[in-house]
Structures are given as C-alpha cells and as structure tokens.
C-alpha cells in the first residue's frame, strides 16, 4: 500500500534562512507527487506538483526515485510562508490522493 511520511510535525526557521520540508513515500509503481498548502483562513490548495517542475512562491521540489523522496525547498524563507504543508501521492491513473500528516512551518522574524 502507498504511504507518505512527513517526519517533522513542526519546523521552525528564521526569516531569510533556507528551509526544507521533508517528504518520503512508499509506492511500487510510478508516483505522482504534490505539495498542498493551507494558509490561515483559506482552503487547502495545490502548491506544486512534480510533473510540472515549476517554482511557486520560490518553492521547488524534486522527485528522487532512488531515495523515494519529494522534499520541498526554499532558499530564503519568508514570514508569510508560515503555515501547514501537506505532501501527497497519487498512483498514476488512480485519482486518489494519499496525504502525509503535514508539517507546520514557522518562520520567525
């Protein structure tokens, strides 16, 4: 069965510091991976997906199939990045998403 692990429930960094939110997955096939974000008083929304290889709000994530990881990175954290982040896995043609338990990022001034 597929599984998504976000090992850090809480992550705290200072403004301007690099940040990396970890995500590891287990799945035997060809995965599709996503990062979703939930800003305060807003609905859960897609931040980025691995297949598009884009940078959103300065965040990037690279799929590493050898390490089965999809870590979210940003070189210089901003205070407005403070929120909850969820990593999610989709099984290719199966449209279900399996979510990790989330990491709450706090960026201190």
């Amino acid at each position: 069965a597929q599984r998504v692990t976000q090992p850090e429930k809480l992550l705290s960094v200072f403004k301007g510091a690099p940040v990396e939110l970890k995500c590891n997955y287990s799945y035997s096939g060809s995965p599709e991976l996503f990062w979703y974000v939930q800003y305060s008083r807003q609905r859960l929304q897609l931040l980025l997906r691995h297949i598009s290889r884009e940078s959103i709000k300065g965040f990037t994530a690279d799929l590493n199939k050898g390490e089965t990881s999809f870590h979210l990175k940003k070189p210089f954290a901003q205070e407005e990045d403070s929120t909850m982040y969820y990593c999610a896995l989709s099984q290719g043609s199966n449209y279900k998403l399996t979510f990790g338990k989330g990491t709450l990022l706090t960026v201190n001034p």
Partner: protein, 114 residues
C-alpha cells in the same frame, strides 16, 4: 475559477443524530472526494466518487455513507453521529484528465458532535 462549496462552515450535532454534509462544485468535475482532517493525522479519505451514482470507499469509511445523485453534488452522511466523528470535513473535486490531477477543495465544515 473553480468553486467548491460546502453547506455549512460550522455544525453542532448530538450523538445519535443523522448528519448530512453537502458539497457542490461548479466545474463539471467527474471526481469528488470527502476527507476528514484531524491534527496530527493529516487528511484521510472517507469516500470518493468518480461518476454519478458511483462511489468507492476510502481509507476510513466506517460510520459514513455517501450519495451522488447529480454530477455537481456529493453528500456525506453520518447515519448515527458519534463523538469520535468530531472533526473538520473537507470536500474536493477533480477532473479525470491524465496524470497529476489537481484536487480543488472546499472551505471545510467543522463538525462537533456532543
């Protein structure tokens, strides 16, 4: 602009009551989903539907049922609410179109069962 709406933002019900949570999407999406979101547990899939009158169990379907009579509407039903069903419930929808489907979420319904 994709819009997923949920009938209530906050709901308080008593143990044993039958509870209906309604979700409507206006983007003609085939897939619709119900999740519950709990601190420390993330999002867990309760049920999903890939077409009208079609449904499949997710990871935690016990104590829940669903109904999808129209493409745009997906209802979650708690047949006999219990206190352990106190949670935030999120509805989502997505297209069936190749890989990397984005799911669009509603604002959530915070249900308290007393």
């Amino acid at each position: 602009d994709v819009k997923v709406t949920q009938s209530s933002r906050y709901l308080v019900k008593r143990t044993g009551e039958k509870v209906f949570l309604e979700c409507v999407q206006d983007m003609d999406h085939e897939n619709m989903f119900w999740y519950r979101q709990d601190p420390g547990l993330g999002l867990r899939l309760i049920y999903f539907s890939y077409d009208v009158k079609m449904k499949e169990k997710g990871d935690i379907p016990e104590g829940y049922s669903v109904s999808r009579e129209k493409k745009e509407r997906f209802s979650l039903i708690l047949e006999s609410a219990s206190t352990n069903q106190t949670s935030m419930y999120l509805c989502a929808s997505s297209l069936v179109a190749g890989w990397a489907y984005e799911q669009y979420f509603g604002p959530g319904t915070r249900l308290t069962v007393t």
